[in-house]
Structure formats: C-alpha cells, structure tokens
Symmetry: C2
Subunit: 342 residues, 2 copies
C-alpha cells in the first residue's frame, strides 16, 4: 500500500522520497537501478527518489508528512526505530493493519499502542492512519477507489487529503481512528471465511461445488461478528459500513483471498504457506490476535453494550483459528451461522 | 424462489402441491407433461403434483402451510385472489420482495400492507416471510445456504423451519419481519450499484477498466444507505447483517447483477430490458419505490433516530433512479461516495 500511494501523490505533483527499511536493501537497490519495485506491477512515475534506511534522518526534516508503509509484522520495529526518533512536528500516516494483544485494553490498535508507548517516553504524537475499502493494485492501476484517512487534527487530515486525492482516488476523512483501524484489521481475519467457501467448491472430490450462497452464508456470519466487535469498540456508523465494504473487496481481490481458497481446497496451513511464499499474510496474525483477544475478554466476562462477551457468539473466528493453528479441516460449522428467536 | 423451495421440502418428505397463477397456465402444462418448469435448471423431484389456478381452493384445505411464490408485480393480485380467500387457520409464507409506496407510512412492506388490508375486511391474518441471503439457483443445486424466515408465532416458524431445513439449507428464525422484508427489498435496488461498476469496467472504449475497488466504493455507499434505512425502520442487528450479506450475494449472482452490468456497459434501459426479456427484474420497482418513498419522507422533513431524512444522504439511490427512469449515464458521482468529518 505504501508503494501504491506513490502513484496518486506523484500525479498531484507531490515530491516523494522512498526510504526502505533495513530489510528492504535489495528492493531499494532494484528501485535505484530500474525505477521499479519488483513486487509492484508497474514502474514508479518519474521523479521519485529512493533511499536506504540510514538516510531517513536526513530526508525527513522539512517534509509535510511521512507515510509509514509497513505491515503489522514491522509495527514494533517502526515504533522503536522510526516513531520514537521522528521530529515532533512531522505528522505520520500509517497504513499498518492489525491489532495487538496485551495490556489493560486486551486488544489495541497499533496507533493506540504507539501513542501510549511514545507518551511513556514523554513524546506527544498522534498517529494518522489510512484504511480501506481498497486493494493496492487497483490504486496503482488508477481505478476508482474510496479510501479513508483518520486522525485528530482536521487541518493535517485536509493536507493529507489534498496530497492524495485525484479524480480516481476519493478520500474520506474521519476522527474515528479506532473504528477505522479495527475495521481494517478485523476484515483481514474475516475475509478468510468467504474465500474458504470458494475453495471448498473447488475441493477435489467435493460432492457438490459450493456456490455464491455458501459465500453469502459466511459473509453474513462475518458481518455479524464484525458488527459486534466494531460496535463494542464504539466505531461510528461510517466506519462499520467501510469495514463491511473492505471485507467485500478483500474477498474479491486481496491476498487473504488466495490463502482462504487454498485452505478451502483442502491444503494444510503449511502447504498453503509454501505456495504463497514471499507474500505477506496479515490475515494469519489478524485471526490470532482477534481470537486470543476475544478469548481473554470472554474469560474475564467483560460487559459491552451487547451484554457479556461470549466466545459462542464468534463461531467463525473460532473456526478460523482452529483451521490456521490446529490443523482443523476448513469446512464450516454451517448450522452455527444461522440464528434463532431471541 | 417458490420453485427452488420444492427441492428441500421434497428432500424432507413433505408432500408438495404446486399451483400456478392464472398467468402460469403454459408452465403448469409443461410441468404436468415433463415434470419440469422450463425456467428452472433441473427437473422437479418425483412425487410433486401440479395444478391450475382454479384448483387451489380444493387443494389448500388441510395443508400445513402455503408458500406464496410470487414476485412484487403480483402482490396486489395475491392479496385479492388468494390471501383474502384463504382459510383462516392455514399460515402463509411469502417470498415476495418489495416495498409499496403510499398510505400513512409512505413506504410499507407487502406483509404489513396485506395484513392491514385484510384487517379492514375483518380478516385477522399474519403473513410469514422468507428472505435471504441466497439465490434460488444455489438452493436448487443443493448448495450451502443460510436463509431466514420471519413472523409472529414461534410454533408456526418452527413447523416451517422443520419442513425446509436440510443438511445444506440452514434456516434462521426471527420476529423482525419488517427488518427482514426491508433488507430483502432494498438490497434488490442497491445491488445494481456494484453490478454497474462491473459493467463500467467492460464498457467499450473505457479509458481504464474498473477493478474491485470501484465495486467496493459502491458497495460501501450501498451499505451506508441500507444501514440508514434499516435502522430508521428499527431493523434488528441480525437483519441488518443479513441485508448486507444479501447485497453481497445479489451482486455475485442474481438477476439484478445482469441488469447492472448491461447498464454499466453503456446500454440504455430499453436496450437492457430487451436483452433480459422474460426475466423478472424486481430491482426496477425496488429503485422506484425506494426513491419515491425517501423523496416524500425528505419533503415532509420526517425525523428519525438519524435526524431529518435528507435526500442528499442517498446519492446512490438517487443516481440509480436517474439511470433507470431518466436515461442518465450509469457512471457514478464517485466523489459523493466519500464522507468527511462531521
């Protein structure tokens, strides 16, 4: 997503300097040599400069803002090596997707966690974030995309929006950072569901193929569980709708789709990972943190606007956890996806 | 959908008698002759009997329940010719999808309207209904489907569920008939949106194809408007999730999808209708009644839990109405699908 945003920024005449993490040396080599990131389908626009990690402290001062294009696997590193050393007056827009398990809140978004850790060091920084619904490839291809940026200061959000918005990239603004971050993080877990349903239909020796109704049945259960979680954390209504649209687009075209289909087809988790080697699969950590977080909340009997958190109300995330981490077959407990008179 | 339900009923050993409307004489002829409905992809199971409309009053007495497998275009006829003459003790399960404009409520569901009209004739009848998320073809093919039946009496709902539920058809029960009916009716209108986005991408001479992000952008706006409407009528949370899953499945595989894609490709409404001749397009009446209903509520300045109804908050339904009824090009007012700080 970090690479994708270079395209609209450049189209708007914004000067973009790309800095790799210490793990990206080879990619930066390649960018400098050829003007393209080997993982990105087309060359970057002209005029972009590429830099090794060591250079960041020289490059960042004087920037309007910094985009943190890292995955959830780099979130702790980003806190220590970048956010903690960043000049105080430069806003940061994060595209990280994920939740962190631990602490008083049990589950927290990365911006929440970062801000708290920075505050403990005496650093007052609000992190801005960018979320769905949209996949990076379509932004690169200049297709119509509605995306959302969240954060505290309306002026900073306006500045970021002006840099990003094009005739094809439509940017919403919200103060509901928690709702946005949760929506983006949990859809990565839940999108595995309908994708598995597609794979089940392709399974060798399947008695019958599964059709769109099977996907819809799992989409329904995903929507129910996502709404429960989003309302529990107080997400505003636009972010709930955004989360469900993000679920839709991730089922339609994201990397999570590929993993789900392989599992549905009957591959083991190890086999599926082998096939998708080199692809960052955020859905795996999303399922883990969500399942662990809900389990802890359920054990503690935490009250929400929906009554006590009960694991029984999250049969889909429970199933996904068993499939990903305990070798359970991916076929669903379908009957648990219907509801009855209350 | 009426024809589709014959398959699970028959699998459960329920005796099914199919009665055609006066407009279905030729189909009933064909069913008697060949055991199949020419509009349905496979023959009916053995043991089903087929009857002309005149026979219904002889057949219905003694039945456990009657399924009204009619479209919204037959809703007034169904009230006059069937519901008004039906024995009082036989429950009716309707699969009709649609809203009716008129009366004090401005927009009402068909069950609401029927019950009111019957009450005015001194007839006390509650109508039961069946809704998504699911398309008929997948039920016919025996694929996993979660569907929902709604109504007042838990015992009647249990009886209907026992007749319909199989190892592949999973039946939820709800008392929230209004939420269920609204969800089912309005998704037929809103599913045109993402389907148009698919068609836009195939449009001849399109500068660029549209990708999944464009569908997601319209899905997002559809989800926002549907949630607004469903919460306004007091739909319960399971029915809101069901409505969004029904939106998903209708975009993926329903008839509304075909119409939307043709419009997106650039065909006029007349050309699209010509291509889809013989197909019942409930989305057309769904868009019309929804647009007209919201317009009236907005003009009256009706208050809801969301504040006053304002047409400006429904840019997608407004656009679809202009496309379907005033020849507007199907390409979207994309910028209206983003939101801003409130």
């Amino acid at each position: 997503m970090g690479s994708a945003l270079i395209f609209p920024l450049s189209a708007n005449g914004v000067t973009v300097k790309v800095v790799g993490t210490p793990f990206d040396r080879e990619i930066i080599d390649e960018c400098i040599r050829t003007g393209r990131n080997p993982k990105v389908s087309r060359p970057f626009p002209a005029g972009i400069s590429f830099h090794y990690f060591e250079e960041w402290k020289d490059i960042v001062p004087g920037s309007d803002f910094v985009i943190g294009g890292i995955s959830s696997y780099g979130a702790e590193w980003f806190l220590e090596e970048v956010l903690s050393c960043m000049p105080a007056d430069i806003p940061v827009l994060s595209v990280v997707k994920g939740l962190r398990v631990g602490g008083d809140r049990v589950l927290s978004t990365w911006p929440e966690y970062w801000e708290k850790q920075l505050a403990a060091k005496g650093l007052d920084r609000k992190v801005y974030m960018l979320g769905g619904p949209g996949i990076a490839q379509d932004i690169i291809d200049g297709e119509h995309t509605v995306t959302t940026i969240g954060g505290e200061d309306p002026g900073v959000l306006r500045m970021m929006k002006e840099c990003l918005e094009t005739d094809r990239l439509h940017v919403s603004r919200t103060h509901d950072v928690t709702g946005l971050e949760y929506a983006v993080a949990i859809k990565n877990a839940y999108a595995l569901g309908p994708a598995i349903a597609i794979g089940l239909g392709r399974r060798k020796g399947a008695e019958r193929p599964t059709g769109v109704n099977a996907q819809a049945a799992v989409f329904f259960q995903a929507a129910r569980e996502m709404r429960r979680i989003l309302r529990t954390v107080g997400a505003e209504s636009d972010c709930i709708s955004m989360g469900l649209a993000d679920l839709f687009v991730t089922v339609e075209g994201g990397r999570t789709r590929s993993l789900g289909i392989l599992l549905g087809e009957g591959l083991s988790m190890a086999e599926a990972r082998e096939r998708l080697k080199g692809v960052t699969l955020e859905s795996i950590s999303a399922v883990k943190s969500l399942y662990e977080g809900i389990s802890i909340l359920a054990k503690r009997g935490v009250m929400t606007s929906y009554g006590k958190v009960r694991m029984a109300e999250f049969p889909l995330i429970e199933h996904l956890y068993e499939v990903l981490f305990h070798g359970k077959d991916a076929d669903f407990p379908w009957k648990r996806f219907s509801f009855d008179l209350s």
